[in-house]
Symmetry: C2
Subunit: 136 residues, 2 copies
DNA sequence: CAAAAAACGACCAATTAAGTCTGTTTTGTA
DNA sequence: TACAAAACAGACTTAATTGGTCGTTTTTTG
């Protein structure tokens, strides 16, 4: 019942990119140093975020990463799900993988569906706009 | 970011005990069969719940388990924390184990504290009274 | 071309999750 | 009193996941 280290690092990395001067890029090395994240592990994380469309990457000697869109349009949910996949607070809410469906009607199912919806909403409403120090 | 199978089983077991006729006990075997939980695994779970004070157990041939108090006074939080220990939605909210404290002030910390508080409140407000079929 | 950057994928150690197995103790009943 | 049925206790196992490392390749630019 805890966010993975990986997802937490991802959030920190994105927060870092939020405060980059417009048009600038940050390298893995720079982010790793600034946020105290193991270099190679961060490399994997940034790759995942790029594949998920949260970041844009540039190769080559002047390369690096930046957000793919305005920080206020990047939510915690975007980042977490990019790393961990779709959030399911209980096996029970994964639909097909829920065993209680076969046995009968699970009376606790609705509760978890509600909680999950609420949590996801909170995460999706929380954007990185809040972490921008110098507002453009 | 998901409830453990163990905690889910624990909730189902407690729900089962909620609907026991007053004064009656249920054995591990009975619960395991009714809720489709592996017998030996459930035994450990019920032991944990008993140690945590959620259930009361009786040994001997007519033994078994029952709730230690009214079902409306047993919350999801009671059960989950009995099994998984104190809930911490992120390493960040565990206080001492949070690395960001050393580095500086973590701007995301408050968000997690809030979310955790909200989630725990929801769990603590959700009691098993709701799952009682025949209301005393 | 050399340096610096990202991309890719194999590998690894430790921990946790989920469950099993074996044996002990307690207790009501035939 | 012996037996059966129940809980108690804890060691053990297996597989998956987590958190992270390493080595190599590709891209880009001064």
């Amino acid at each position: 019942m805890q966010l993975s280290r990986k997802a937490d690092y991802a959030l920190r990395a994105v927060r870092h990119l939020t405060n980059l001067p417009k048009g600038k890029l940050a390298s893995i090395n720079a982010i790793a140093a600034a946020e105290a994240i193991p270099r190679e592990f961060l490399a994997k994380i940034l790759k995942d975020l790029t594949r998920a469309g949260v970041l844009v990457s540039f190769q080559g000697v002047t390369g690096g990463y930046r957000l793919s869109r305005t920080s206020k349009d990047v939510s915690f949910l975007d980042v977490i799900e990019a790393i961990e996949g779709p959030i399911h607070i209980n096996l029970c809410t994964e639909g097909d993988r829920c065993s209680c469906k076969q046995v009968g009607t699970c009376t606790m199912h609705d509760f978890w569906i509600d909680q999950e919806a609420h949590f996801k909403k909170a995460l999706s409403r929380h954007s990185f706009g809040k972490y921008k120090k110098v507002k453009a």
